[in-house]
C-alpha cells in the first residue's frame, strides 16, 4: 500500500492545475477519469455529445458541477477548432467514439464519421492551436482482428473485420501521421474489454449477466461460450490513461501504441460462472443461445510493453474487479431495473 500511496501523491502533484480536455468525458470510462482528475485538482473540461444521456457516474459524483461541461459534436470542425483554441489545454484524452457494435453494423458511415473524422478534426485543431499538448487516443485491442490463437502484441498487423474496429485502426493511423509529420505528442492505448462500476450498457456480457441474476433470470450466453477474451477493470484502464498522459507531456513515448490488458483471459462460459459464484447464485445456471456460429475466437492481447516501459500493472484481479462491480450494481439495483424499464 505504501508505494501505491506515494505514487498517487506524485500523480496528484503532476495533475494539480493541469488543464485537461476529455472527449466522451461523460461516458463510462470518461466519468471515472474525470472524477479522478477532479480529485487531483486538475481543471477538467468534458466534451459530451448533445442530448447524450450522462452516465449514472457523472451524476453520482456531481461531475457536471465539478467539470466544465461542453456540449458539441466532434464532427463539427469549427466547433472543435474553437474549443481547442479557447481551451489552452495541456492534455487531451480522446475517448469519444461511436462504440456500439450493432450501430456500427447498421450505419457504418456514421461510425466512420464520428470515429475517424472526429479524430482528424481534433488532431488538426490541436496541431493548429496547441501542438505541444499531449494527445491520448483511446483505441481497442480488436484493431488487430479477431482469431488469433496466440497472445499478440502491438506489432500485429491492423486487420479489423467490422466498421468499429476499422474506424479505430484508422484513427490510430491518422494520429500516427500527425505525430510523424508535426512531432505532436500523440500516444495510443488499446484497451481490452472494459468493465466496472457504472457500466450501463447491458448488452455487454458482464453488466448483462449481473442484471439477469438480479432479476433472477438465467444469464444468456450467445455463441457457444468458448470465445476467449481479456477483461480489464475500469480503474486499471484509467490508471493507464493517466500514466500515458503524464509520459507524453514530458516528451517520452511519443507516437507509441500500448495494449492495456489484464492478461488473464477467460472463456465467456467461465466468466458467467464466476459471476454466478460471486453472487452466490450458482444454482441459477445459464442458458446457451446458439447463433449458428461454430467459430471459437480468441483475443489474447499482451500488455508486456506498457508494463515494461511505463511500469503499469493491473491492481485488480478478475475476481476482485467483478466483486467491486457486482457490489456497485447491488447498491444501485433500484436504478438499474428502473433504467432498464425506461429503455
Amino acid at each position: 500500500m505504501n508505494s501505491d500511496q506515494n505514487k498517487t501523491k506524485a500523480d496528484s502533484n503532476f495533475w494539480y492545475d493541469k488543464n485537461v480536455l476529455i472527449t466522451g468525458g461523460a461516458g463510462f470510462i470518461g466519468s471515472w477519469l474525470s472524477r479522478l482528475l477532479c480529485d487531483m485538482g486538475a481543471a477538467v473540461t468534458v466534451l459530451s455529445e448533445k442530448n447524450a444521456s450522462e452516465s449514472v457516474l457523472f451524476q453520482q459524483y456531481d461531475l457536471s458541477k465539478r467539470t466544465e461541461l461542453v456540449e458539441g459534436d466532434i464532427r463539427n470542425w469549427q466547433f472543435v477548432r474553437d474549443l481547442a483554441a479557447d481551451g489552452n489545454f495541456d492534455i487531451l484524452f480522446h475517448l469519444a467514439a461511436q462504440s456500439q457494435v450493432t450501430v456500427a453494423q447498421e450505419d457504418p458511415r456514421a461510425t466512420f464519421e464520428v470515429n475517424i473524422a472526429g479524430t482528424w478534426n481534433l488532431l488538426e485543431a490541436f496541431h493548429q492551436t496547441s501542438p505541444a499538448s499531449a494527445f491520448v487516443l483511446a483505441s481497442t485491442v480488436s484493431v488487430s482482428g479477431e482469431t488469433t490463437d496466440e497472445t499478440f502484441d502491438e506489432s500485429a498487423p491492423l486487420a479489423g473485420a467490422y466498421p468499429y474496429e476499422v474506424s479505430k485502426a484508422c484513427a490510430e493511423l491518422i494520429g500516427k501521421s500527425y505525430c510523424r509529420t508535426y512531432n505532436m505528442p500523440v500516444g495510443t492505448l488499446r484497451f481490452s474489454n472494459l468493465y466496472g462500476p457504472g457500466d450501463m450498457n447491458f448488452r455487454r456480457i458482464i453488466p448483462g449477466t449481473v442484471l439477469n441474476v438480479l432479476k433472477n433470470t438465467k444469464p444468456q450466453i450467445r455463441g457457444n461460450g468458448q470465445s476467449v477474451r481479456d477483461y480489464l477493470y475500469i480503474h486499471d484502464a484509467v490508471e493507464a490513461l493517466l500514466l500515458l498522459g503524464k509520459y507524453l507531456q514530458s516528451g517520452d513515448v511519443t507516437g507509441q501504441v500500448f495494449q492495456v490488458s489484464s492478461m488473464s483471459c477467460v472463456t465467456t462460459l467461465d466468466l458467467v460462472k464466476i459471476i454466478l459464484h460471486l453472487m452466490q447464485q450458482d444454482q441459477l445456471g445459464y442458458e446457451i443461445v446458439h447463433n449458428g456460429s461454430a467459430e471459437i475466437s480468441q483475443i489474447k492481447p499482451s500488455s508486456e510493453k506498457i508494463r515494461k516501459q511505463l511500469g503499469w500493472q493491473p491492481r485488480f484481479t478478475l475476481e476482485q474487479g467483478l466483486q467491486e462491480t457486482i457490489d456497485w450494481y447491488l447498491k444501485h439495483s433500484n436504478q438499474l431495473v428502473l433504467g432498464e424499464q425506461v429503455k
Binding site: P108, R109, F112, L173, K176
Partner: protein
C-alpha cells in the same frame, strides 16, 4: 483488341469516380474503346489544360459532376443509372497538397471511399467495386524490398495515412463476417488496387515530375529537380489501368481470392531515378531549350526507395507490365509533343493509338488480359 479483358466491358454499365482526372480520363478512353456504357461522377477537371477537355471525353458518356463527399448525390447517381461495376478513382492525389489540406485529404480519400461503398451497398445492380488506393498505403520501414499485400499498412504523412485508411475501410467490405450482415447486398465483390507512380500523356497536375518537366520544356525554362537520385516505381498509366480492368473483369469468377488488395507495380529494373527520367525525356525532345538543373534540398530527405512487389498479381492474375521505360517515355513524349505542337484535335486519336499499341504489345507478350 476491342475484345480484351474477356470482352467483359462490351455493353457493360461502368461507373467511374474521378473520371475527369488524369488517370480517370485514360480509363474512360479505354472503356469507351472496349464498348462500355460509362457513367462518370467527379468534380470538374482541376487543371488547365486537362486531358478530359482536350479529348472531349464528355461525348458519349453520362457525365455527372459532384463531390465524392456528397453521399446523397452519389447515391442518387447510382440509383438512377444502376451500374454493374464501379471504379473508384476520385481522390485528393497530391502528397504535397495533403500537408496543406490534411482534413480535406482525409475527408475525400477516406470518407469518399466509405461513401462509394455504402452507396454501392444500397444499389443492387452493383456487383463489383474496384477501389484504387496507392502504393503509399504501406507502412514505410525504409527497407529495400518491395512491399507485399500482407505487409503492415500506415503512413508517415497525411496522404499515405489517408490511403492506408481507405484500404482498411475497403477491407471491411471484403470480410465475410461483415458481408454476411450487410444485407441486402452481401454478394458485392470489393477489391483494392495499389499502383505506383503512374506517368503518361495528359497529366498537368502540380508537384508531379512529368508535368513539371513538360511545363518547363513547353515554356523553354529549365527543369529544376531537388532529389535527382530518388527512385520511384514509375509506370505508364496504362499498366496500372490494365490491372484494374482485368481485376474488374474477373473478380466475380473467384471472389475468395480476388476480393483483396493488389499491387500493380513495375518490375524492379524500372526503378530508375528522377534524374534519369528527366534526361531521357530531354533526350527525345531534342529541340527543347530546357536543361536539367539540380538544386538539392538540404532541409528534407525523401525516402529513397519505395516500391511494391507485384508477385501476387503475377501469380493469380497473370498480370505483368508490358512496356519498358523507353517505350513508356516515348509514348509520353509523343503525346505531349502532339499537344504542344498545336494538334489538340488529334489528341483523342493519339490516345487511342497508344491504347491499341499497348494492347498489341501485351498480347505479343502473352499477358493474360490481352489474349
Amino acid at each position: 483488341m476491342k475484345n480484351a479483358f474477356k470482352n467483359y466491358y462490351q455493353g457493360k454499365k461502368v461507373l467511374v469516380t474521378g473520371h475527369t482526372g488524369f488517370k480517370g480520363s485514360w480509363l474512360l478512353c479505354w472503356l469507351k474503346y472496349l464498348g462500355a456504357e460509362i457513367i462518370g461522377y467527379s468534380l470538374d477537371p482541376d487543371t488547365n489544360p486537362n486531358f478530359f477537355t482536350v479529348c472531349h471525353l464528355t461525348d458519349g458518356i453520362i457525365d455527372m459532376r459532384g463531390d465524392i463527399r456528397d453521399f446523397e448525390k452519389l447515391s442518387k447517381v447510382l440509383q438512377e443509372n444502376q451500374p454493374e461495376i464501379i471504379f473508384h478513382l476520385a481522390a485528393q492525389p497530391i502528397v504535397r497538397l495533403a500537408f496543406q489540406k490534411p482534413r480535406d485529404t482525409f475527408d475525400i480519400n477516406i470518407m469518399g471511399t466509405v461513401n462509394v461503398l455504402e452507396a454501392a451497398r444500397y444499389c443492387k445492380s452493383v456487383k463489383s467495386v474496384i477501389v484504387v488506393t496507392s502504393d503509399k498505403c504501406y507502412h514505410d520501414t525504409g527497407w529495400e524490398w518491395g512491399y507485399r499485400e500482407i505487409d503492415q499498412l500506415g503512413g508517415h504523412e497525411a496522404y499515405s495515412a489517408s490511403k492506408a485508411c481507405a484500404e482498411l475501410v475497403a477491407a471491411t467490405y471484403q470480410e465475410d463476417r461483415f458481408r454476411q450482415i450487410i444485407q441486402p447486398h452481401s454478394e458485392m465483390a470489393v477489391a483494392t488496387a495499389r499502383a505506383g507512380n503512374v506517368i503518361g500523356g495528359g497529366d498537368w497536375a502540380p508537384y508531379r515530375l512529368v508535368p513539371d518537366v513538360v511545363r518547363a520544356i513547353s515554356s523553354d525554362q529549365d527543369v529544376i529537380i531537388r532529389y535527382p537520385d530518388a527512385t520511384r516505381p514509375w509506370q505508364h498509366v496504362l499498366e496500372a489501368l490494365s490491372g484494374y480492368l482485368w481485376l474488374g473483369a474477373i473478380i466475380q469468377e473467384n471472389p475468395k481470392v480476388y476480393c483483396s488488395g493488389w499491387n500493380f507495380g513495375p518490375d524492379a529494373p524500372r526503378m530508375i531515378t528522377v534524374g534519369e527520367i528527366v534526361q531521357r525525356i530531354l533526350k527525345i525532345w531534342p529541340d527543347s531549350k530546357a536543361k536539367l538543373v539540380i538544386e538539392p534540398d538540404p532541409q528534407k530527405s525523401e525516402a529513397m526507395v519505395l516500391h511494391v512487389d507485384s508477385s501476387k498479381a503475377h501469380h493469380f492474375l497473370k498480370w505483368w507490365p508490358t512496356w519498358d521505360i523507353d517505350q513508356t517515355i516515348e509514348a509520353i513524349v509523343i503525346w505531349y509533343k502532339g499537344f504542344y505542337r498545336g494538334h489538340p484535335p488529334e489528341m483523342c486519336q493519339i490516345t487511342l493509338e497508344q491504347i491499341q499499341s499497348y494492347s498489341t504489345a501485351a498480347q505479343a507478350a502473352e499477358i493474360s488480359w490481352a489474349q
